[in-house]
């Protein structure tokens, strides 16, 4: 089965794969930072009492969560040019990842904030803290512990989702596998190498996520 697995060709194409790995890294890091900002803004709008910003935020979150990422990517990729916006594929892709993950991150943050006990907030009010102070000193420090592991989970999902950008010809890791397949007709070598790199990224993030979870349990225990 794997007897004729050709390692030489993998080394020949290594620069292409490393380039792809680099773009996957960059795309993921930029997208996760932008998504975090989007998520914080969307979550603030979502939990605010002002209806005119609350309902658009709800609509945004629910639409993003109930349609596939691939459809969102195609929507922007084919849709933006008809609006007269011609931006490179890579930016379209980052925009799609940012909007998609932003909605999930908004929900993660909201779950973290609502996990803080009502009595804590009342205690804050009773101590004469204002809204910003309550957020800063009572809610956020506690919510952060609950939020960090699922946020890292979302980062893992985002790295894997960035593979879909290969379908709008962004030159990232999966795309380099496709390029090698079309040039040399060796899909096994190409895609197992791609999978190997993704698993490396996954294991790093997973270890980090498990570690943060352990820290969290420790904090709860004491």
């Amino acid at each position: 089965m794997l007897a004729d697995f050709n390692f030489r060709i993998i080394f020949e194409y290594m620069p292409l794969f490393l380039n792809g790995l680099k773009s996957t890294f960059l795309i993921s890091i930029i997208s996760i930072i932008l998504a975090l900002m989007t998520g914080i803004v969307a979550c603030s709008c979502r939990i605010s009492g002002i209806k005119i910003i609350k309902y658009p935020a709800i609509a945004y979150i629910e639409i993003m969560r109930s349609t596939p990422l691939l459809v969102q990517i195609y929507f922007l990729y084919f849709g933006l040019p008809t609006l007269g916006l011609r931006i490179p594929e890579i930016q379209t892709g980052i925009l799609a990842l940012m909007l998609n993950s932003g909605a999930y991150i908004a929900e993660i943050i909201r779950a973290g904030i609502s996990s803080v006990d009502e009595g804590q907030i009342e205690a804050g009010v009773a101590s004469g803290l204002n809204y910003v102070q309550r957020m800063r000193f009572i809610i956020l420090p506690q919510a952060l512990g609950v939020t960090v592991p699922p946020l890292l989970g979302q980062a893992i999902v985002l790295v894997k989702d960035s593979a879909l950008l290969s379908l709008i010809s962004v030159a990232e890791l999966t795309r380099s596998g496709q390029t090698m397949t079309s040039e040399r007709l060796m899909p096994a070598e190409a895609f197992f190498t791609v999978a190997f790199f993704y698993i490396c990224i996954y294991l790093c993030l997973k270890t980090f996520s498990d570690w943060s979870q352990k820290k969290l349990i420790y904090r709860e225990a004491y």
């Binding site: 596939p68 691939l70 195609y74 929507f75 849709g79 008809t82 609006l83 397949t181 895609f191 698993i199």
Partner: protein, 216 residues
């Protein structure tokens, strides 16, 4: 121009319904396969045999660590090299079953592990066989923990069926992709595709929210 394209889009709407039907078909067969496989794997994952549990753990990591597109490419392009020819539709179902079962396995194993040891011991001392222990004592209690994330996972799986369009299965996303070549109004075409996905997955999202509130 916009109105003209809209007219065309209305004309080929039945084509979209065919795509929707295909998506529903892939989704439901996959949900069924994934649930059964996931429960079997999950029960073994939480079981006492450390060796089997480890092997399933490695399988789960391999699947969770790679993007679904890459898995589909591996199944669709590499199996023929090993002499297994698959049409696009069965290949899609196979890929979905492999991917989905890994995720559901972890949910089920988490649910079973949340059952206190005393429940197992009580079941053993009542003279139940291993199957009866699972069937009457452990799984019914674990369902409370399993159900909310399971329904959430169903939503994700339904959305992941859009990815099987890359190997040419004529489902909703593929239909949109073909249509946009003829009707160059990306916003309109993919809004329609999005609305159709929304119709399938939003009820499940509501169900998942409801379960989360009730079971918590």
């Amino acid at each position: 121009m916009m109105a003209f394209y809209f007219q065309r889009l209305v004309e080929i709407f039945p084509f979209f319904l065919l795509g929707l039907w295909m998506t529903v078909k892939v989704a439901f067969i996959s949900l069924f396969n994934c649930t059964i496989l996931g429960f079997v794997l999950g029960i073994f994952r939480a079981g006492k045999n450390k060796f089997i549990s480890r092997i399933i753990g490695v399988y789960v990591s391999l699947i969770r660590g790679t993007p679904f597109v890459v898995q589909i490419f591996i199944i669709f392009f590499i199996l023929p090299e090993w002499g297994i020819q698959l049409e696009a539709f069965p290949a899609a179902l196979l890929a979905m079953a492999i991917m989905g079962s890994a995720f559901i396995c972890e949910i089920v194993a988490g649910g079973i592990n949340s059952i206190p040891k005393g429940q197992w011991e009580a079941a053993v001392s009542s003279g139940l066989s291993l199957f009866q222990q699972l069937r009457f004592v452990v799984v019914p209690q674990a369902m409370k923990v399993i159900l909310p994330p399971l329904v959430g996972q169903y939503v994700l799986l339904i959305k992941d069926t859009s990815v099987v369009s890359v190997i040419g299965v004529m489902e909703l996303t593929r239909v949109g992709w073909i249509t946009v070549v003829r009707i160059p109004e990306g916003l309109m075409v993919f809004s329609l595709v999005g609305v159709l996905y929304f119709v399938i997955s939003y009820p499940l999202i509501l169900l998942s929210n409801y379960l989360e509130r009730r079971m918590a």
